[in-house]
Structure formats: C-alpha cells, structure tokens
Assembly symmetry: C2
C-alpha cells in the first residue's frame, strides 16, 4: 500500500482535527490545490483564508476554486495578497484563537517565478502567528523542501523552531523519508488544549 | 487529540498491512506487551514468533499471554530463545517471504538487567533478516531509544541502514518528536511489492 506521502499525511492530520463550519488558513496558496482541499473540508459554512504574496498565485487559486465541481459545497474563500507573517492581523478578529488549522507548503510557486521563495525569517514569523491564531487542539502543518534553492536552510530553521516550542504550548512531530534526504518532509504542530 | 505515540503509530501501520491468519514476528519480546497485541491482531489462525535472548523475557511474555482474556482468540505463540539476527533460520521455512510484519522495540527489558541491551551490529543483521522474511507489502517497524545507554549509536545505525535501502527494495519513513530528541522514535520500512 505504501506509506502516505507527506502532503497526504498533512491533509489527514488536518482533517482529523477539523469539522464542517470551521475556520482554516492556507498560508501558501500557490496554485490553490491545498486551498481547494481545505475549502471542501470545512464546507459551505466554513471559512478559508488563502495567503500569497504573488497575485498570480491568488489568480490561479481563484480559477481553481471557480472551476471545481460542487460549488454549492464550498465556502467563500478569502484570498489575501499579503505576507503570511501578518496573518494574525489580516484575518477577522473573531477568528483569532478559533482557527482549526494552518497549512504551509513552502518553496516556490510551481511554474511561477522561482526567485520568489519563502524566506526563513518571515516563515518563522508566520509560524508564530499561526500558533497564535489556532484554537486549542488546532494544528499547523508545514511541508518543507530541503532540495529547493534555500530550502535546506529554511527546513532547518523550521525544525529548530518546532524543537524549541515549549511542550506546554504545543506538541510537534516530524514525518520524513530517510532514503530521500532532499525530498519534501512534514513538520506538524498541535496547539495544546487549555489544561 | 494529540499525535499518536510512536508505539501506537507502529501498531497502526502494522495493523493496516496485516489480516487475521497472517504470520508476524515480535523481534524483541521483552515484557510481551507487543507480542500480545500482535497475537490479537492475527487471531487464532495466525502465527506469531516472539524472539528474545533472555529467558526471563520469554517467561514474562508467556505469562502475559496466558493471563490475557480471550484465550480462544489467540494463536499459539512460538517463543524463541535466540538472537533475532537468526530469525530467518529460526522460523518455519514456509513463513520465509510470507511474513506480514516484524516489530522491533529496542533497548533493554523494562525492570530487567539493563546491561543486556541490543547491539547495533546484531540489530542491523536482524533488520536485514526481517526484510528477507517479509512478504511484498510487509512492514518492519523499529522503535528506537536514543536516550538509553548505547541507544543513540544504535538509533543512528538503524537510520543509516534505512537511508541506504534501495527504493526498489523498500520504502522507509521516520516519525519523531523534535521537541524531545532523547524520546523514542520510529523507523518503519515497507517491502516493495513485486512489480
């Protein structure tokens, strides 16, 4: 059967912690594949924010959403042309601390400008913001690309960030393929429930 | 909800690839907790081998099996006082290449003699043997204890072994908690189906 891909594992872990009507964030809209999956997950009563710093990515995401089947089962998706490091300010204030999942799929826009890449400093700032907007029990998933230009440093920065998170704040896990050190891998963080 | 523990993830991945009546191997019987779980998984028509180099471990495993509820739902478990590096010769020849899962839980026997530990060389030999006895699509799980004496070197040896496995032979994944570098973690390997 094979093990789940890192992207499928990210979607599975998000789905296990998300219900119809929830609020979720695609921190890296890119071509919109994950945005559409998140929209289908939360359904017409849910809320999806999709962030990207490139208008082209948001255009492609909008097109993908509009051309998908089952429009009546999708929520209105809020496309935000903004650095995801500012997500906490960009979302409606009543969604802060109430978000079920924030998904990061780092690296560059497939088929787009490969010089426009996520940078470690803003990625880490965005991960901090993501934890802040999550509800207790919510999840951040981060698919890392150590084989991309600049991707290894970014992956190391994200893993170091996850490693230093106090366990009282969140629990982190990694899922990786040791035979393929340059292949994408997954860091996932679940915010602790209030105790 | 929290992420699955590494041990629960090992059992889950094994269960996904195992059916009643199958043959499975506990390569490190220890106190018999995993042996019992494997016996329940394959049921009365299955076959379970449990290896340990300590008679005390096999005695405790036998006791746990005998004292568990639902005896009629358990197979006869073959307790083998032998280094697991010899598993390929120790099992019935018709189980070679037909085994659904081999489970390793390394480190020392809880409450037992902590000077009797698994050693990298025989562990790697046992992992090779485990791949050999698996059927295509079968799985080896290996829970590593980098926080135990000698455990870090062993964990590194196992990861290096998994990393060098040709992808045409098997697919390897790791599941780990970056906040807890000394905590147990999981290396799992699925044997490729014949193509």
């Amino acid at each position: 059967m094979g093990f789940l891909s890192v992207l499928s594992m990210a979607h599975k872990w998000i789905a296990e912690r998300t219900a119809p009507g929830d609020t979720v964030i695609d921190a890296t809209a890119g071509g919109g594949v994950d945005t559409l999956a998140l929209a289908q997950l939360v359904g017409p009563k849910g809320t999806v924010y999709a962030f990207d710093i490139q208008q082209e990515a948001l255009d492609r995401t909008r097109e993908r959403l509009l051309s998908s089947a089952g429009q009546d089962k999708l929520p209105a998706v809020k496309l935000v042309l903004e650095n995801h490091a500012h997500m906490a300010e960009a979302i409606d204030s009543h969604h802060a601390g109430q978000t079920a999942a924030v998904m990061f799929n780092l690296g560059y826009l497939p088929g787009g400008d490969q010089t426009v890449i996520t940078e470690p400093a803003s990625t880490i700032a965005a991960l901090h913001a993501a934890i802040a907007v999550l509800r207790p029990g919510g999840i951040v998933t981060c698919v890392l690309y150590p084989g991309h230009p600049g991707g290894e440093a970014e992956a190391e920065a994200v893993e170091a960030w996850a490693a230093q998170l106090p366990q009282s704040v969140a629990q982190a896990v990694t899922y990786r393929q040791p035979q393929r050190p340059a292949a994408p891998y997954l860091v996932a963080v679940e915010k602790r429930s209030a105790s």
